[in-house]
Amino acid sequence: MADTLTTTSGFSRASLPAPTGQPAFVTALRERALEAFEALPVPSPETEEWRYTDLTGFELDFQPFAEGGGPEAVNRHGLLAAAGVSGERAGLQIQRNSEVISTQLGATATEPGVILSDLDEAASKHPDLVERYLHSLVPADRSRFTALHAAFRTGGTFVYVPKDVRLELPLQTLTYLDADGAAVFPHTVLVAEEGAEVTFIDRFASPDLDRALSNAIIEIHAGPNSKVRYVCLQEWGHGVTHLSVQRAHVDRDAEVRTLVVTLGASLSRSEAETVLEGDRGTSEMLGMYFGDGDQHFDHRSIQDHIGNETASDLLYKGALRDSSRAVYTGTVIIEKDAHRVDAYQTNRNVLLSDRAKADSVPNLEILTNDPVRCGHAASVGPVDENALFYLQSRGIPHAEAERLIVYGFFREVLDRIALAEVREGLERAIEAELEG
């Protein structure tokens, strides 16, 4: 129906990427994905899933590929500043536009078998490994947008941490976009084998642009007894539309902690999902967002409990200024044969202007008859008037009182971020947002 409105001319069979050394399975994947893209409808706001984000009139007239400019581009364009690297790294990869332009794995990550690589390069060098994981959690035909991603993705990050290897320092990829009118397809495949430990930071940054698309997929595989921390910092400039699907698979006794930070883009839709399949797996899902201007944020989450004694805890908090808009939709699923499950979900929104709007939609799907400990809480409202009066009665002017309260509101999330540099970076970001 709405397909006719959507220009997709740039995304044709002729423009399918074919990086050197591309293994046959990737070529086949791209072709299947292109067919799925052409066959799948534009998501309709009539469906529950897309109720709050209407992309029926969204033109896909983007450039499918924009050059990265090679390794020398790293030192230009303020890329390193944008990478926000304030601490030590086990490894850093930089993608500019559609191409990875630099990958460095540091001296602390020299254990045999650790991989931090351009996803295309990894597919060519380790085809069996990449084939096992690429699009295994987020299938190409999940939606028209994931299909577009699977067909036209270039660059991306492949992280592999072998059995029992523990990386103390974080790995990071910066995806930097400065090609107006381009579509980029960031993709992170993060694999932690049994007993492995890894922290990975995905950072998305750009200057303000007229129009660009970031269509991202993150697939996290946490092997038995592994510990994975994943941080997504979305700081795109204005003009960018960001659509992202993140899905983590948690094996037995594994622990996955994810943090989704949404500060940038004009429209940002982030789906974050954790599937707790193995027994005793645990998941923490944190989220923070701060909207201003006319930003539109659509956050969705799924906590899917399959294994016994699995536990998940989700906390998303957001503040909205000006006429920004946020919706959070969270679903907790307790599958039929899951026993002794703990699942918590909390979403809180503070509105800093009369024109700002937020919705919070929690859902529980309990399919087991077993007693579960399951709780959810949601709130949307202005800054607490009693707290404002209390602070003002101590001489603190209204604007500063509001800043203190909102900053304090985010503390609950900040206090749970183990990585000091990420926490401190976010403190600065919140301060900057509050200064307006």
């Binding site: 008037e385 209390y390 009665s393 101590r394 001489g395 203190l404 509101f409």
Partner: protein
């Protein structure tokens, strides 16, 4: 701030949701004086405290509140605080995620550095030293000031924290709204000791209380009784003891005042 700051409440009439709560209150508190304002529940004590500090939600239908002769009713609460007013809350508010130290430093700089120049803000180290002194004075430990403002505090801790704020901000006139309520005898003694440490020629105190018991530890110069939105009697410290002996009912009967609304005793309120 002048040498001898004066808070003057002049024929103050205040309504809340269309109902008149204060019906012509007159009261003057000077720096260095200790006043106790006593009254039964619903007599308008907390309304008076709120109006003086600028709590939203009140409609002032008549009269005025002046500080050194200037009306403060149009000023925001923070401006009133910077002029030397302080309100210790009956129910101190939790401020999640804001540590007591940061809160107090912001408040201190706002109150003491009224020109708003960042350069004149007190350095963190110097502020710590000042805090230490004041904490010792009112009996607050390190652990408490690292916590978030009033979050998870016991009733006694909340009241001690209010006293600490009073000590740090050094106002000219402080209103303590039912600072004694909900405290056991040890907590009450601790809070009273803090107040006594702080009282002196530089502090005017208006102690709002239902019961006489805090006045066993803090001796007022003047005692006022608020009933039905008016001060019905003023006197010296003896008045508190007299009231303790005969009760609000006794005084009401003596003065020939009808109890009404929330102020009525429970058994009468049903009629």
């Amino acid at each position: 701030m002048s040498e001898n700051t004066t808070l003057e409440i002049r024929d103050l009439h205040v309504s809340v949701e269309g109902r008149e709560i204060l019906r012509g209150v007159n009261l003057t508190v000077r720096q260095g004086e200790v006043h106790a304002l006593m009254g039964p529940n619903g007599s308008g004590k907390s309304t008076l405290a709120g109006v003086i500090m600028g709590r939203p939600g009140y409609v002032i239908t008549g009269g005025d509140v002046l500080l050194d002769g200037e009306s403060i009713l149009r000023l925001t609460p923070d401006k009133r605080a910077r002029l030397g007013l302080f309100l210790a809350f009956q129910y101190p508010v939790e401020v999640p995620g804001v540590s007591v130290v940061n809160f107090l430093r912001s408040a201190y700089n706002a109150v003491k550095n009224t020109d708003g120049d960042d350069e004149n803000r007190m350095p963190a180290l110097a502020f710590r030293k000042l805090m230490k002194e004041k904490m010792a004075m009112v009996g607050v430990d390190d652990d408490m000031v690292r916590r978030y403002v009033n979050q998870g505090f016991s009733g006694g801790e909340k009241k001690r924290m209010e006293t600490l704020q009073l000590a740090v901000l050094e106002p000219a006139i402080a209103i303590l709204d039912e600072t004694d309520s909900g405290l056991d005898i040890d907590a009450l003694k601790a809070v009273a000791a803090g107040i006594n440490q702080l009282s002196g020629p530089n502090l005017g105190l208006l102690l709002i209380t239902h019961y006489q018991r805090i006045l066993d530890y803090v001796t007022p110069d003047h005692v006022h009784v608020l009933m039905g939105g008016r001060i019905v009697r003023s006197g010296g410290p003896d008045l508190a003891r007299e009231l303790e002996a005969k009760g609000y009912e006794g005084l009401r009967a003596e003065l020939g005042i009808e109890a009404e609304g929330d102020e009525a005793e429970p058994e009468r309120a049903t009629t």
